[in-house]
């Protein structure tokens, strides 16, 4: 069966520090991968998605970036965090078929102080 893991679950970082959130999918190949941010009153904001290695679409460039070093690994990064980067980050995947159903990770709570 397929599983998705993301870590760390909780992170407290000072403003200006770097960020790395990692997401890994197991039990499938060539998944579509997504990073979302959930902030109060803003719903689920799509940050990046990738339909294959080397293919990353950015929806909210700002100071965040994403990379897909391996087929089933998706990393969200920042060189310098802002206060506004605080939120709940969700990684998700789907099979890229027409069903489109997303399977979500457990989420990462980021607090920038």
């Amino acid at each position: 069966s397929q599983t998705i893991h993301q870590w760390p679950a909780t992170l407290v970082q000072p403003v200006g520090s770097p960020l790395s959130l990692e997401c890994t999918v197991e039990g499938t190949s060539n998944p579509n991968l997504y990073w979302y941010r959930q902030a109060a009153g803003r719903g689920l904001q799509l940050l990046f998605y990738s339909v294959g290695i080397g293919q990353i679409s950015s929806e909210v460039p700002q100071n965040l970036s994403a990379s897909r070093p391996q087929d089933r690994q998706f990393i969200l990064s920042s060189k310098k965090l802002l206060l506004s980067d605080s939120g709940f980050y969700l990684c998700a995947w789907n099979r890229g078929s027409n069903t489109g159903e997303l399977f979500f990770g457990e989420g990462s709570r980021l607090t920038v102080l």
């Binding site: 579509n32 997504y34 979302y36 009153g41 803003r42 719903g43 689920l44 904001q45 799509l46 998605y49 339909v51 679409s57 929806e59 709940f88 969700l90 998700a92 789907n94 890229g96 027409n98 069903t99 489109g100 159903e101 997303l102 979500f104 457990e106 989420g107």
Partner: protein
């Protein structure tokens, strides 16, 4: 660009009653998918129901059904016989042909005993 709008930040319904959550979207495409996801307090996202845009018949999953009005770009969710376990945040989502999936801001549903 596509957008998804949920105009009801919060709603309440009496247990065993019926409630309808609203969702409108904007797109120039004719082929797409629409979803409703549920996020309970555990924060784990759960797919509630899915609708293919090319299907005129409204999707139904047990107590959950949708009213899909393609011309009006409306996709509402009806929950019948509301139960305490239905209390959650509900998100409407849109998937385009390129597997980009965007969400609305969500509606928090309260079930009154």
């Amino acid at each position: 660009a596509q957008t998804v709008t949920q105009s009801q930040p919060e709603m309440s319904v009496q247990e065993a009653e019926t409630v309808t959550l609203s969702c409108t979207y904007d797109t120039s495409e004719s082929d797409y998918y629409l979803f409703w996801y549920k996020q309970p307090p555990s924060r784990q996202m759960i797919l509630v129901i899915r609708q293919e845009a090319y299907k005129q018949q409204n999707a139904t999953e047990n107590r959950f059904s949708v009213n899909f009005q393609k011309a009006a770009k409306s996709f509402s969710l009806k929950i019948s016989d509301s139960q305490l376990g239905d209390a959650a945040m509900y998100f409407c989502a849109y998937k385009d042909r390129d597997d980009k999936i965007i969400f609305g801001k969500g509606t928090r549903l309260h079930i009154l005993p």
